[in-house]
Amino acid sequence: MQNDELLQVAGMSAFYGQFRALTEIDFSVAPGEIVAVIGANGAGKSTFLRSLINHAGTATGSVRFHGTEILGKSTAEIINRGIMLVPEGRRLFPSLTVDENLRLGWEVGRRDGMTADEYFSIFPAIAGLRKRPAGALSGGQQQMVAFGRALLASPQLLLCDEISLGLAPLVVDELYAVLPKLRDRGLGIVIVEQDIRRALKVADRFYCLLEGRVSLTGRPGEYTRADVSHAYFGSH
């Protein structure tokens, strides 16, 4: 069972200097699985995702991808092995064109997954904007480009940090509708959300983070709202 996992995290802690942001996280994702990470603001969700690609503070513990230890490897190498992040706040290069932003994903990645043509067929709205500077796009369009930049890197594990943040519900629906298609292609997907309902609706499993620790994990149907709410807010 363990060998089937795409990603296997064991006892991972993360530090910003003296400050411990994550404590002893155990976590896994299988191919074709959507895993949600929920938690309040400041719980450590972004730190967790960014630690997986070695782009946050310093991490200890173990992170195995396809069974190989990747903790401590450079971000560029981890991405090249097949993990890619759609960062919180999209973080496109605003003065670069849409094409250039997408192309960067292609260049840093493995080039054995999604092609630009496939991407544009999934997000036809972007096809007409390819020569525009990314900064001139609407928030939803930017999020689609950020998605594209990640997908064109041909990840086997896609990490999505609050992709619904600040977007209209219709746009969010459109983005979320893509996730099952990606799962069907065999990708493992981790979604980080503050919107619990939306995350649990699409996820196969979930982890709830509270002050840097896993406070609850399982399948969305297993727990009552009160259980989740308790794990989310803590017992105050």
């Binding site: 450079s74 971000t75 290069f93 670069l96 930049r149």
Partner: protein, 288 residues
């Protein structure tokens, strides 16, 4: 009389070509690596002395020496970034300035130790002496005209590289948001090092034309740095063609003042620079 001033202005414009060559590399350092490289002028002088060695000690022709110099300086820029500057690139204002400042003093005194304080220059044969008559009483030297032409071609080429190639997109991405670039898997250090390789290549071009047009000695670097700096501030950062405009403005100011009193030449350049930052601190040609 008016021909006299037309000639003076024309010489200033052509001098601007040389100043643009000094400034291109600094503009790239500042624009891509966010490095105000205090040793930029000294890199140009270092390149000139490499040419001195290749032509005089090895007896190679100047053109061949130059072809060797370009990759040498590019390699030097790459190694400089990877070996030294990357340790201070993201450390705030003081460390990069002070490290390049120390480097500047090391290069100057290393050259002084190796070559002595004598002034040098290159001989370019007929290129240095031939002039063309454009109209009745109006002349341009072949070498100054070629310098300006090379500056224009170089700026055009670098502009195309940066705004029209995949590599250029990486340079812009790293320049615009280095943290994001690292987050999506760009090797920021390598991109910076490649940018410094490009800078190194431009110092080779600057060194060739400087040595053909004027004397230099081991301590000439700071003077070149100041000119390059004035040019990029005047031209406004983030605009390569602004460099050419800033350089020509500085060249014309110096040339006109020099025609009035030769000792005023350098001072006039500085004064124009200071006047313009008083009036337009964002530079003359800054977009938006």
């Amino acid at each position: 009389m008016s021909e006299f001033y037309i000639n003076v202005v024309l010489q200033g414009v052509l001098l601007g070509g040389l100043y643009a060559l000094f400034a291109i590399g600094l503009a790239l350092s500042v624009g891509i690596v966010r490095l105000v490289n205090i040793a930029h002028g000294d890199l140009i002088i270092l390149a000139s002395y490499v040419l001195v060695v290749l032509t005089q000690s090895f007896g190679l022709p100047l053109w061949l020496s130059f072809l060797i110099l370009v990759p040498l300086m590019a390699g030097f820029g790459y190694v400089l970034q990877q070996g030294l500057l990357r340790h201070v690139t993201d450390k705030g204002m003081l460390p990069p300035l002070l490290v390049t400042f120390g480097l500047s003093v090391i290069i100057q005194n290393g050259l002084l130790e190796g070559f002595g304080a004598d002034t040098r220059s290159f001989s370019g044969g007929a290129l240095q002496t031939s002039t063309w008559q454009l109209a009745e009483g109006i002349y341009v030297g072949a070498l100054p005209a070629l310098t300006l032409l090379v500056a224009v071609v170089l700026i055009f080429a670098i502009d195309r590289l940066i705004y029209g190639s995949h590599f250029g997109a990486r340079l812009r991405a790293v320049s615009e948001a280095p943290a994001t670039a690292a987050l999506v898997g760009l090797r920021v250090n390598r991109v910076h090092a490649l940018a410094l390789a490009l800078v190194g290549a431009t110092t080779a071009v600057a060194a060739l034309f400087m040595g053909l047009r004027m004397n230099f000695d081991p301590l000439s670097g700071p003077g070149r740095l100041i000119i390059a700096f004035e040019v990029i501030v005047l031209g406004g950062l983030g605009n390569l063609w602004g460099i050419l405009a800033g350089a020509i403005l500085l060249g014309v100011a110096q040339s006109v003042a020099g025609a009035i009193d030769v000792r005023l030449q350098v001072l006039a350049g500085h004064l124009v620079f200071l006047l313009i930052i008083l009036l337009r601190p964002q530079g003359l040609f800054q977009r938006s």
